[in-house]
């Protein structure tokens, strides 16, 4: 019962990170490679969540996906409402995690030597094959870092999630929200426990990122 917020947080963050990879990988590649006014605009928009207050972001999502919007009503009819469900928490986490991932993955794609892709072309490799055999492996380190960052950011989101998913214990109450709740209720012991767990998880994640970048750095300079 006490750990329900942890499991929910992990579930929400995992799904949000998966979505981030799915949408972010092709998007980061396009942003890094195609220089077009439209791309620049998309780049600016994708960075918006970094500068907007989480509550503002949450409010936008609420307006876009809530009962009062056609999109929200349509999702309701399909039986997959977003607002005030765990799916809403995923949406919130995904929105805040995406710009971090795009930055890291975009930088990784941008540093891949285009000459290597040219050589692969002359060796008969298709554009699709070049992405999988050359570009992606060479950008893997940055992409992995971005993925972990996205996961960490999802895990820690508070404001946006609260706006979109609310605070329903056992259903939408994630770790960050549960901590706030415990403090508000004066439940010091519960707050300490949750804070401890979240802190240790964050440290473990950061440690993993460092280890990984060390190993890769070692591989590329040995």
């Amino acid at each position: 019962m006490t750990l329900a917020p942890l499991w929910l947080s992990l579930q929400v963050s995992t799904v949000a990170t998966g979505l981030t990879l799915l949408v972010g990988l092709p998007l980061a590649y396009l942003l890094a490679r195609r220089h077009h006014p439209l791309m620049n605009m998309l780049d600016a928009i994708s960075n918006l969540p970094l500068v907007l207050p989480p509550t503002v972001l949450g409010y936008y999502l609420l307006v876009a996906f809530g009962q009062s919007s056609p999109l929200g009503r349509w999702l309701d009819q399909l039986g997959i409402p977003l607002v005030f469900t765990w799916r809403g928490a995923v949406l919130a986490a995904w929105t805040v995690a995406m710009p971090l991932f795009l930055q890291a993955a975009g930088a990784a794609f941008a540093t891949v030597d285009r000459e290597l892709e040219d050589v692969a072309r002359t060796l008969g490799e298709s554009e699709w094959g070049i992405f999988w055999r050359v570009t992606l492996p060479l950008a893997a380190r940055g992409i992995l870092g971005g993925t972990l960052l996205a996961f960490a950011r999802s895990l820690g989101d508070f404001g946006t999630t609260l706006m979109v998913a609310g605070n329903i214990p056992g259903r939408t109450q994630t770790m960050a929200i549960a901590i706030y709740d415990a403090v508000q209720a004066g439940d010091q012991a519960r707050a300490n426990l949750l804070v401890g767990i979240l802190t240790i998880t964050a440290i473990a994640l950061l440690f993993a990122i460092r280890q990984m970048s060390h190993r890769w750095a070692g591989r590329s300079t040995r």
Binding site: R121, T122, V134
Partner: protein, 372 residues
């Protein structure tokens, strides 16, 4: 037979190149910014010009008039870029096998093994590119480019970054590859020594244009422009005026005297530039009878400078101190002739070694000719 004709407009740069070649090794020679790399990339299909035609061994890879454009994947080119372009995440063996993915596995293995042997890479097969020296990386890049049996091998300054001894060795290897696999090679360089060592045919380029297509001897002896002459070591570039012609000789007024040169078709009073290589400036042996009675000049030796394999002698005309000439002599001869600064010596400019550049209007039309 390789046929290349390209036209492309970029801001501040026009590429307008045409040449054909049947040579074993064709060298694209010119200063940086001449459009050599762009030309090579167009042959590889990595750059698509506005207009042009590329035909290699009977296959048309590009013909903008016929709307033909074959992507690089289907062109059968072996391409080695300036910094080799090895895949850092793959071993030597994996790099070489990269272009053989669609081959049956036993054939692929056999081909990779063959190239590992031919290129002396057997011991390095499982290393990563960063664990190799420059020369080894170069050989891996060559092996990888050759593996899928390309119809042409394109090398973009691929020998430039190595030390001189290694470069010499790799030049020989590229020549051997060319003969062994009977594959035409197109190589880019701005290094005159590399051009001389490698080329069967030279395509001299400048500012996006072809200025001369010729064997290296002709590029050295009869460069199309003074700029190319400077680049290939024709250090004595002089200016005179045509005086008159006799049967097979043209007389040129220069530095207060006259020079006899092989007949050229330009009318009298035409100002012309001409050049002579320092090797063709000959010191007159005063102890022997002099056969020629013309093109003999009296000079003062200004300096005797040791160069890598010989000496450069700087000279000044006695009757016109503003004219400087360079002579180039092998070591033993400098000692035999006791050449010292300050001495007065007579020199002979061999008639056949004097090269007259076409006057400017003519130069343009001969450019067109070279490009047709």
């Amino acid at each position: 037979m390789i046929e290349v004709c390209l036209r492309h407009h970029l801001p501040g740069f026009v590429l307008d190149v045409a040449f054909h070649t049947t040579a074993g090794v064709t060298v694209l020679f010119g200063p940086s910014g001449a459009g050599k790399s762009l030309t090579l990339r167009a042959i590889a299909g990595l750059f698509r010009p506005h207009a042009g035609r590329v035909v290699v061994q009977g296959d048309t890879w590009l013909d903008t008039q016929q709307n033909v454009w074959i992507p690089p994947q289907r062109r059968k080119v072996g391409y080695v870029p300036q910094h080799y372009g090895l895949f850092p995440h793959l071993t030597v063996r994996e790099n070489i096998a990269f272009g053989l993915r669609r081959w049956p596995s036993h054939q692929r293995t056999a081909r990779v093994e063959e190239l590992l042997t031919v290129m002396h890479l057997r011991e390095l097969a499982n290393r990563y590119p960063r664990e190799l020296s420059g020369g080894q990386q170069q050989r891996v890049a060559l092996a990888r480019a050759l593996a899928p049996r390309p119809h042409v091998l394109l090398l973009d300054e691929a020998l430039g970054a190595l030390d001189p001894v290694l470069r010499e060795q790799l030049r020989e290897e590229v020549r051997q590859i060319q003969r062994r696999y009977a594959i035409p090679v197109i190589l880019i360089t701005h290094d005159v020594h590399e051009m001389a060592a490698m080329a069967d045919k030279v395509v001299a380029m400048h500012h996006g244009r072809v200025i001369q297509v010729a064997p290296p001897e002709e590029i050295f002896r009869r460069p199309a422009t003074p700029a190319l002459a400077r680049a290939v070591g024709m250090r004595n570039l002089l200016t005179g005026t045509i005086r008159h012609h006799t049967e097979d000789i043209t007389e040129i007024v220069w530095a207060g005297g006259t020079l006899k040169v092989p007949r050229v078709p330009y009318p009298p009073h035409t100002p012309v530039q001409f050049g002579i290589r320092p090797e063709d400036v000959v010191f007159v042996r005063e102890d022997r009878p002099l056969k020629a009675a013309h093109n003999v000049l009296t000079t003062v030796i200004v300096g005797v400078h040791p160069a890598a394999f010989d000496y450069i002698i700087t000279l000044q005309l006695v009757n016109n101190a503003s004219v400087h000439l360079y002579a180039r002599l092998p070591h033993p001869l400098v000692h035999e002739l006791h050449l010292r600064p300050g001495q007065q010596r007579r020199i002979l400019l061999r008639r056949r070694a004097i090269h007259i550049f076409p006057p400017v209007e003519e130069a343009r039309s001969s450019k067109e000719e070279g490009a047709s």
